[in-house]
């Protein structure tokens, strides 16, 4: 049962400044959309609007329901979020943490059911987390923790999954692992996924559609090849990049302004990179 998400003309003001500016965005049921944009663009705020954690003007709909008219608990049964910086309760075991995901499915005063325990067991199994079940969440590594937080969101058993920069701070292997995991879960469970992404390449490799948010607006929306262009990235990130194609996927390569000039002076760039005369300069600049 896939459920679509739609933000229609959503604006958010916080502390006197406009954070989202008449933003509209629709995500078709069962699709995975990446949201990119520079720091402070409003990506996290978009996700917070969908869970109803921040006051906004405009409408947010999940399926045919308007979020503002739903009970907190009802929303939590439809949308799960993996926050960028989850709060880790001191001394809580991984199983208890993942079981928190079952909260919206039971009454305030009832214990977890056999079904809850079974489902959490399946989730731990699917995410290869069994051996961490009794560990204190505070002792996990970055990649392990990210999987545990995703496990809690999956235990929520919702048709919509929001992820806030799920790969930030992970090493390159863990990044790919987490993204493959999300992709697998998405197709297995027919989830609708919206992920805020920091890494443009990962966004381009894993999702068919990318939305570029900047200054609280959607400034580009489309296939990776249409959004990840040197012009758009320069304009919104102030970064110089070269965009290449690799097996049908877009690859974004950041380049240093000065090196680019060097390169244009020497057509055969390959040998030049190893020139010892260049190295001291580079190292000084890097330091």
């Amino acid at each position: 049962m896939s459920v679509p998400v739609a933000l229609d003309d959503v604006s958010v003001q916080l502390g006197g400044t406009t954070i989202l500016d008449h933003l509209s965005l629709e995500i078709a049921a069962g699709t995975w959309v990446s949201m990119i944009g520079p720091n402070g663009a409003g990506k996290t705020t978009v996700l917070r609007c969908i869970t109803g954690a921040v006051p906004y003007q405009g409408t947010v709909q999940i399926g045919s329901s308007v979020v503002a008219e739903m009970q907190v608990r009802e929303v939590a049964r439809t949308v799960a979020i993996v926050p960028q910086h989850p709060t880790l309760p001191e001394g809580m075991r991984v199983v208890d943490y993942v079981l928190l995901g079952r909260t919206p499915h039971r009454g305030a005063m009832t214990s977890e059911s056999e079904h809850d325990l079974l489902l959490v067991g399946q989730v731990l199994d699917a995410l290869d987390l069994e051996r961490f079940a009794d560990r204190d969440v505070a002792t996990l590594s970055g990649g392990e923790l990210q999987r545990v937080v995703i496990a809690r969101a999956l235990a929520q058993d919702t048709p919509i999954l929001l992820l806030d920069e799920p790969t930030t701070g992970l090493d390159i292997g863990a990044q790919q692992e987490v993204m493959e995991l999300i992709d697998r879960l998405r197709s297995q469970r027919e989830l609708t996924v919206l992920s805020a992404m920091h890494d443009l390449n990962i966004a381009g490799q894993f999702t068919e559609r990318i939305v570029l948010v900047s200054g609280g607006r959607v400034v580009a929306d489309g296939a990776p090849g249409d959004v990840l262009t040197p012009e758009l990235i320069d304009r919104h990130y102030g970064a110089r990049v070269r965009v290449e194609q690799d097996a049908g996927r877009v690859v974004v390569v950041p380049i240093r302004a000065r090196l680019e000039v060097d390169e244009s002076l020497n057509d055969s760039a390959d040998g030049e990179a190893d020139d010892p005369a260049d190295k001291p300069d580079e190292e000084i600049l890097d330091a």
Binding site: R48, T51, G52, A53, V72, R73, E74, V75, A76, R77, V79, A80, I81, P83, P86, T87, L88, P89, E90, G91, M92, R93, V95, D96, L99, L100, G101, T103, P104, A108, M109, S111, E112, L117, L118, V120, G121, Q122, L124, D125, E130, A133, A138, Q156
Partner: protein, 348 residues
């Protein structure tokens, strides 16, 4: 697939806590100005609570000491200790702050001020349909915690658990100063109220027990019913919201309930510090941090702790009596320092 074993209350943890409390209580009723034989005490209690007539061998006077002085006092100490420990645990979970405690949050000082006002200015208690003391104490306690919250969380940058406690210290000092001013103005009530400042459990008969019992029961039911919600609050308000829990509402209900119990305790026992911090933390160290385990066990161990503290208070300098607040502070301050030292995370 693995079998998922969540943290749950184990039956034998409750049985053990019940046993500790029972033994503590029986020992405490046996010792005092006149020592009673423990075996006979047990027999006398069984006699009252069963249909079988058993002779404890006590004289009428010994029976009177046991039933009109010792047992009411131990029951009162148990109720007050259980309530303060439970309230401490509830405040810690609500504010996600390991140092929260009725005493440190200004609740006790506010309740003390309210109670002083009631004694100094409320006309004879017979004029009121209910005893105004707990009501005044409750209003004062609520005002205390509300002020602390406002002062502690008005800090914009670097808001941590310490700022809340600093707010509590300031509020408690202010409310205590107001109380002292009142005491000086109303010299007549001075002696009666002075006992509170250090905390004291002196009672003859069951009137105090009956006075606070309804409030304590309400507090117990509400806080225990909400224990699972406090575990959800431990991930912070925003994530709790994403899990379907309205954190501000849970916090409000918990703080109201904890303050009601604290005010009732303060209105009969005065300002007894540190129980709300020592007991939940000791339970946390032994049984883990989950509130579903911590809160019920705090009731038992809080009761046992204050019964022991009261036993020490009334026997160590016999025939004189030490204020019980002195005993809990003497045991509690070093423990508090220990908790402060070992608290990691949670912004401490």
């Amino acid at each position: 697939m693995i079998t998922v074993r969540p943290t749950r209350m184990e039956v034998w943890w409750v049985v053990g806590a019940g046993a500790v409390l029972s033994i503590t209580a029986i020992v405490a009723v046996s010792f005092g100005a006149v020592d009673l034989d423990i075996g006979s005490v047990v027999v006398s209690i069984m006699d009252r609570f069963s249909f079988v007539e058993i002779d404890s061998g006590f004289t009428a006077q010994q029976e009177a000491i046991l039933w009109e002085i010792r047992i009411p006092r131990v029951v009162l100490a148990g109720l007050v200790g259980a309530t303060l420990a439970l309230a401490g645990g509830a405040y810690q979970g609500s504010f996600r702050n390991p140092l929260a405690d009725p005493y440190l949050l200004g609740v006790a000082a506010g309740a003390g001020l309210g109670a002083t006002l009631a004694i100094a200015y409320a006309p004879g208690t017979t004029m009121w349909p209910v005893d105004p003391l707990p009501l005044f104490a409750f209003s004062g306690g609520l005002m205390g915690v509300a002020l602390t919250y406002v002062v502690g969380y008005s800090v914009r940058a670097g808001r941590t658990s310490v700022t809340l406690i600093l707010g509590g210290v300031a509020v408690a000092a202010f409310l205590t100063a107001a109380q002292t001013y009142l005491l000086q103005r109303e010299a007549e009530t001075l002696r009666q109220v002075y006992a509170w400042i250090l905390g004291r459990l002196s009672t003859v008969g069951w009137s105090e027990v009956l006075l606070i019992l309804p409030y304590v029961v309400v507090t117990g039911i509400v806080v225990i019913a909400g224990r699972r919600r406090l575990d959800v609050l431990s991930v912070g308000d925003e994530e709790a919201h994403a899990l379907g829990v309205d954190a501000p509402r849970v916090r409000l209900v918990m703080v109201l309930a904890a303050t009601l119990g604290t005010a009732a305790a303060v209105s009969v026992a005065g300002l007894i510090g540190f129980v709300g911090i020592i007991v939940p933390h000791a339970v946390r160290i032994v049984f883990g941090t989950s509130y579903r385990v911590l809160l019920p066990l705090s009731i038992f161990y809080g009761a046992a702790f204050l019964i022991i503290a009261d036993l020490i208070a009334r026997t160590i300098v016999a025939p004189a009596e030490l204020p019980i607040g002195v005993v809990t502070a003497f045991l509690g301050a070093p423990f508090f320092a220990f908790v402060l030292r070992s608290s990691r995370g949670a912004g401490v």
